[in-house]
Symmetry: C2
Subunit: 260 residues, 2 copies
């Protein structure tokens, strides 16, 4: 498995998932390419969700919307099949988790629309290459995520607060990190807040709402980015009749270059 | 009228349009803000058109998709009304122009979805500020646009070639112009071709498919950018039952900063 982290292309990784031979996290894989969040909704809800995403491009950067009923993301991964090529899926009904799945072939319907949304693994690779440590990767934990009191712009049934990721950054590197991540608007872009968790409604950095806690060293400040969990949390909250997402941490690997 | 070119905000310009007091081109107006192409389609066709736009982000950079039935672009111009705030509209049925309009209040329906798409007036302002002449503005003509032989990625009923704009650029400035426009992915970004019109299926630069011809001086090369006329041409070709667009050159003025 470890070998695959180094040598496989995105297409090869998708093919392994399709064959049921790969189910792990995509963190650290295919660093030259964009990774994507997946949300699948019936057409009826998808029209409102498309409006929600374009109204909130920081947490919901649209990579691709598929044709209703067509599981191929023809721009971001020609030939891929979104029913089989992700390493893990979650199936929800009315906001309740019904089942975790390795593929969703038999759940697919003619009215389903898939949304691929940008993901911060994309800019993390750029930070590491620039010599900025990403603690959650160093410590092999899932990045700390927090629900804030910063509301998204609502769109019909879809509304709710921003979820953010937090990375501890040495004070002297904050400007460099902001500029570097700002080059990735398709992967959440610049931080939405630096410094005061209380200012955005976060009570305790040691108790993230998703993922694990990480240490913040003496010379570091917490830096917060819009997070791709936001659209999933908002979609769940709306309790759509039918929804499928990827399993957290197991993203869709696109063929798109990281730089967009 | 000339005074308005200098002093009015985007909101003031939209308000003048809403009152029927302004119907001119938006070229040169509100240079600090993004201008947008407008395409309005029934929900049924809008799902496929959203897929088409995300598959072709160079000609179709999505600024905002509205909620079905809601004419307010809540992110790009809160409080605006897309039924009245554009200086000119075109109404099509099955691909045929039915009527030019100053407002579309009585045509609005609960199933209509509006698409706001990026437009190259946005980066032209940046070129001018950097000291690069834009000949069509200097000569007060509509920019030269050409239908190419470069196909868009199809999505359902929507397919067709790229339409491009052409600007003559001094050879020594091509790199600067490419980099500068590349900072505006929400407004077509970098050129898609430099130099040989034949290579992209253009027979005669003196005979544009849309807009007017411009002189190309001895030290200049033609530079081609993806163009927001593409999605309109493609949508028209699909002959949707009902479609409304802005009048060419009379764009929707958003409140979004030019830099995205």
């Amino acid at each position: 498995m470890e070998q695959a982290r180094i040598v496989k292309s995105a297409a090869e990784m998708r093919n392994l998932a399709r064959q049921g031979r790969w189910r792990g996290t995509t963190a650290g894989h295919c660093p030259a390419h964009q990774q994507a969040n997946l949300v699948i909704l019936p057409k009826e809800a998808a029209a409102e969700f498309a409006a929600f995403c374009t109204r909130n491009p920081e947490p919901c950067p649209l990579i691709e919307i598929t044709l209703p009923g067509d599981p191929e993301p023809a721009r971001s991964a020609p030939g891929a099949d979104l029913r089989t090529d992700v390493g893990g899926y979650r199936f929800y009904r009315k906001g309740e988790l019904v089942e975790k799945r390795g593929e969703i072939r038999d759940l697919w319907r003619d009215d389903l629309v898939a949304f691929l949304l940008g993901f911060s693994f994309t800019f993390e690779h750029a930070l590491i290459e620039a010599g900025v440590g990403v603690r959650s990767i160093e410590c092999d934990t899932i990045i700390s995520m927090f629900t804030t009191n910063v509301p998204c712009r609502p769109a019909g049934r879809f509304h709710g607060p921003h979820v953010v990721t937090m990375r501890p950054i040495p004070e002297g590197q904050v400007r460099q990190v902001s500029e570097l991540s700002g080059r990735y608007p398709h992967a959440h872009g610049s931080p939405i807040h630096v410094g005061s968790p209380e200012a955005i409604g976060i009570a305790d950095l040691a108790r993230p709402d998703y993922g694990g806690p990480v240490a913040i060293h003496k010379d570091e400040v917490p830096v917060f980015w819009a997070c791709g969990v936001t659209p999933q949390a908002v979609a769940l909250e709306a309790r759509p009749e039918f929804m499928i997402t990827h399993e957290p941490g197991i993203m869709f690997l696109t063929d798109l270059p990281r730089e967009g």
